[in-house]
Symmetry: C2
Subunit: 331 residues, 2 copies
């Protein structure tokens, strides 16, 4: 691995000049530049980020912590973040916390020691105090989706309340007269907001009763179980709004298992808009978050902060969209 000194020697200039060229600051003679470029080629020189980091220049690694990589929503989100980072010359470290505090803290420690340039948190189980160290060292932080609110950082989230309302309204439009909601963990902000959105509409109707609310944990299995419980409680439901797509997929499976026709007997709508909703039969109607845009935006804002040393913190609430498919409308 060639060093800057070797390049300088080969090009017959000083390391300072090479450094200036590489970082494109300061003046460098055209002819000198050519010679240096050639030397770089010849030695196949790549500046060491390590040394660069030590020498005070900001590093080019940013981290994204997701709570559950087995939920395709997060890989999709990660892809978007990754794409933008890569195109801007940053490398992404994808950390899967699995909602495991141990892992999370191990990651925080590692990130801190490795001096990441920026940090995107999409995990709900990371506490404010855990971010303290990073924050103290001035590392820009962006909170994405589940991670909820926090001081001193920008927050990016879809309009969960509106999306939930949209879902319920859609089910009503499709003729449903008793709509249940499988809600996610109330410790998670997105789950809370979606529940609120549901209630906002549902409570206007006579059929509404709290027992239409079934708890889930955002994972597929809980969707199956929720359906079971729901059918015992309310054999006459004709619409289900699941708090996310994974639970919706589980719910669909539960319904099919019980021999229930979807959407004829019960219509079903999810939330997230992950690709997998097109995998089921029938395909799932869902409220699509702009996943790609959220990821890109998070990365962009983060990099903006890294490169400008700060910038104002805002709360971005992105719009959602109903995607109508066969789980709510029989052809």
């Amino acid at each position: 691995m060639a060093t800057i000194r070797e390049v300088a020697a080969l090009a017959g200039v000083s390391v300072a000049t090479v450094s200036r060229l590489i970082n494109r600051n300061g003046y460098v003679n055209k002819e000198t530049e050519r010679k240096i470029q050639q030397a770089i080629e010849e030695l196949n020189y790549h500046p060491s980020s390590i040394a660069r980091g030590l020498a005070g220049k900001r590093m080019d690694v940013v981290a994204l912590v997701v709570p559950d990589i087995s939920n395709p929503f997060f890989p999709e989100l990660a892809r978007a973040v990754e794409d933008l980072c890569l195109s801007r010359g940053y490398t992404l470290i994808l950390c899967n916390s699995d909602n495991d505090r141990e892992k999370e803290l191990a990651y925080m420690k590692s990130l801190h020691r490795n001096s990441v340039a920026g940090f995107i948190c999409a995990s709900d189980s990371l506490l404010q105090e855990d971010l303290q160290e990073l924050r103290q060292s001035g590392t820009p932080i962006v909170m994405l989706d589940r991670s909820g609110n926090a001081d001193d950082c920008s927050i990016i989230r879809a309009d969960n309340r509106k999306g939930a309302a949209l879902a319920v309204q859609h089910l009503l439009d499709k003729g449903c007269r008793k709509i249940a909601h499988i809600y996610g963990p109330q410790s998670i902000v997105t789950a809370r907001e979606r529940l609120e959105g549901y209630e906002q509409i549902a409570q206007q109707y006579a059929w509404y009763t709290p027992s239409l609310l079934i708890p889930g944990d955002f994972r597929m299995e809980s969707g199956i179980e929720a359906v079971q419980l729901l059918l015992e409680r309310h054999p006459d439901v004709d619409g289900i709004f699941a708090g996310n797509d994974m639970m919706a997929i589980g719910a669909l499976k539960g319904l099919i298992r019980q021999g229930i026709q979807v959407p004829e007997q019960i219509a079903l709508c999810g939330f997230d808009g992950i690709g997998m909703t097109r995998m089921t039969e029938p395909e799932l109607t869902t409220i699509a978050q702009p996943i790609g845009e959220m990821g890109r935006m998070a990365a962009e804002i983060l990099i903006g902060k890294i490169e400008s040393n700060g910038g104002e913190n805002r709360f971005y609430e992105l719009d959602v969209q109903l995607i109508e498919r066969s789980s709510t409308s029989s052809t």
Copy 2:
């Protein structure tokens, strides 16, 4: 962020002593140790991996490149790798190449610049020459699953041939008399091996004909299309072995769409053993690779190489297992 010098000053010793203690090499007086430990606590000191890296000590970051994060097989694999790395004090950089050469090269460049300690490749589109730089710098490399063979590194793969044979045999046992195979890209070693495994058994039968081989790209959509093509060619097939679970899921969807009963009319078997095979209705029979073990093993071998400066290179072929579910056996 406290430095080693501050710790040394507070403890009233030299930086060398602190360094010795931290790295647990060389002698340190009990009493001195206590004082240093206390200083470390007090300043909440974490050694900088950056500086440590520059100073010649090996870094604690390893990278895993996967070809397609939207195939749950890879997140599952990554989780296993990640867990083991974390438990051994390493941080994992998860790189999703999307089979995109641009991205791949960008990653390789970044990894090189950041001097990763080790590298696990699970991507098929990374060429030998792309690994050249890493290899030259002495970075240990492990090839996992799709990445195929390469010199100077250990290789870990499931027994794809045997798994495929197992699948076909299982379909035969279930009474199938004409079994098709949806195969993956033949540029990928695992796809080739599975095709071979299929042929090994199928060719022994009179019903076998090359037109039972339908190409796919390991993604769900291609499973749907493959089924369509297959049914045109052979309306009388009664068994399908898909080259991986994602295509199997697609195939299932295609079959259901056409109103075909699974497994009554056509039995279906996948390959990989991803969790999602339990999400469909009917659930999918599949050949399970020991995903967790593969990931852990890859990480373990890699870390072994990192810490021992090399070690012999072996080819590990892990055993697979048939998981029988309703897509091949009607209750």
